[in-house]
């Protein structure tokens, strides 16, 4: 995951390079390190280095890393001609390389030659069945063809081998959410929270999934995970604060007419509403009246 300072740094560098202020290599390295998807920029600034033999040779052995990076960016931008050129250079430098083989297979994939790409990937996997990138390409390829159940199948197989891959669990969770399979999605986020209990985002999404599932028990659980998110973010996460208000309101509706012990104490909602109001007053004053009436409608219902 990319932190806010890292993102600011990369944005600063990007506009610097865009405006001719130099630092292209630094920018490209950072994009690689943070695993960002800024293919149009990578293509533009990467090519400007590759097309300049002086700048290119100054990179030393990193030159080949750049060819690889630009090849992938070019495929993402549908500039298959450029991708092919980069791959050719790498083939010449590293004949028989598996890493270059991967790029060749990706080019087949970019051309939507699915059967041929699949063949190339499986032969690469035969040689090294623990190549995570190729396993992931298979998932992506199923997704690209609209075969979502296939993508789920490949991801589950992948997660049997690489259980500790958090991004893969997240991807699986997101796919389940997009299919409205919330029960299955909740399982993915439980895994993520167990593996990395201090990341607020997992608590938040898990709470969102539980709220979406609905029912008294899930609403109570959702409220706890929203509270954990607030705790972990020092009260700065607006989504979690809104989540508390929604949960308390929902619980109130479901327990209407029951005896007092089942009722929610309104304290948590009142506190969340106060923090929300303070936040809007400071950062979004024109929307404050909207917030106030939204909160009112949640209390009354």
């Amino acid at each position: 995951m990319v932190s806010k300072t890292e993102e600011e740094e990369v944005n600063r560098l990007e506009s610097q390079v865009d405006n001719g202020g130099g630092g292209a290599w630094e920018y490209l390295s950072l994009v690689r390190k943070l695993k960002l998807r800024r293919s149009d920029k990578v293509l533009k600034h990467g090519c400007s280095i590759l097309n300049d033999s002086k700048k290119r040779s100054a990179l030393g052995s990193e030159e080949w890393t750049l060819y690889e990076q630009v090849a992938i960016a070019a495929m993402d931008c549908q500039r298959l001609d450029l991708a092919k050129d980069c791959i050719k250079v790498l083939q010449k430098k590293f004949p028989g390389s598996k890493r270059v083989g991967r790029l060749e297979a990706m080019l087949l994939e970019a051309k939507e030659l699915w059967a041929e790409a699949e063949k190339a990937y499986s032969s690469l996997l035969e040689e090294n069945q623990f190549d995570q990138v190729i396993h992931k390409r298979r998932v992506a390829m199923a997704k690209a063809q609209g075969n979502i159940s296939g993508a789920i199948e490949w991801l589950n197989k992948y997660l049997e081998i690489f259980m500790a891959d958090h991004d893969a669990w997240r991807e699986l969770g997101e796919i389940y959410i997009s299919l409205q399979m919330y029960k299955q999605a909740s399982y993915c986020y439980e895994e993520l929270i167990l593996a990395q209990p201090t990341i607020p985002l997992y608590h938040l999404t898990y709470a969102d999934v539980l709220y979406t599932l609905g029912g008294l028990e899930n609403l109570h659980a959702a409220k706890k995970y929203y509270a954990a998110t607030i705790d972990l973010t020092g009260g700065k996460n607006m989504r979690a604060l809104f989540g508390i208000c929604l949960c308390v309101s929902g619980i109130g509706q479901l327990t209407k007419g029951r005896n007092k012990e089942d009722k929610e104490s309104p304290e948590l909602q009142t506190l969340s509403a106060l923090v929300l109001e303070k936040g809007y007053k400071q950062q979004s004053p024109t929307k404050l009246p909207l917030l106030t009436s939204a909160l009112k409608s949640l209390k009354l219902s």
Binding site: G146, D208, F242, S284
Partner: protein
């Protein structure tokens, strides 16, 4: 019922929808349409608010967004009259279940609600042709309970109010205006960002 309605969308509302989708090319996005029914039986779509670009299937952010948006526009005599959806994949022309469900929810309050799906093929062809028709597919519920694509033979059932809208849209695309579009996801991450997008058309 719904299948017989005509829809007219205002230029700015329409442009915001497309720019929002372009701002998040690698994910599904959605938006809500605001307007009113005119005396002639036409549904007038006056405004749109971009909603989300991540995890569209989750309820809490949607509920918050709808409460606030309804609250804001009720003072301006506009209510929610439809829903816009753009799929994650370029060549995916299926109406997802999430889109259907949100659409269903809206029809409970506004039976003639329009459901618009971004048509990437039309969007791609935009610079080549002079077609003034909007780059979306229109779905509506007829007397049955399911969403039906309103066929191209009756394509005039959805029109943009200003005939030059696509030319203006192209201009906005080439000047990369899509970067400035703020949706409700952005607002929830940083509440100082305004989902009304008042500055986009300045």
């Amino acid at each position: 019922m719904g299948g017989e309605s005509r829809y007219e969308i205002h230029q700015n509302a329409y442009i915001k929808l497309v720019l929002h989708a372009l701002n998040h090319r690698t994910s599904a996005v959605n938006a809500v349409l605001l307007g009113r029914s005119a005396a002639t039986g036409t549904v007038e779509i006056v405004e749109s608010v971009p909603l989300f670009h991540s995890q569209i299937g989750l309820l809490p952010p949607l509920e918050i967004a709808l409460i606030m948006i309804e609250e804001y526009y009720s003072d301006r005599d506009l209510s929610i009259v439809g829903y816009f959806h753009a799929n994650e994949r370029y060549d995916d022309f299926e109406l997802s279940t999430v889109a259907r469900n949100i659409g269903d929810h809206i029809t409970r309050y506004f039976p003639q609600a329009a459901l618009l799906l971004l048509d990437n093929k039309k969007l791609e062809a935009l610079p080549k042709g002079k077609n003034p028709s909007p780059v979306v597919q229109l779905y509506a519920k007829d007397t049955s309970t399911s969403w039906k694509l309103v066929g191209s033979d009756r394509s005039n059932q959805l029109s943009v109010k200003e005939p030059s809208a696509n030319i203006v849209l192209l201009d906005y695309i080439s000047s990369e205006k899509w970067k400035d579009i703020v949706d409700f996801d952005d607002h929830l991450d940083d509440i100082s960002k305004d989902w009304l997008n008042l500055d986009v058309f300045k």
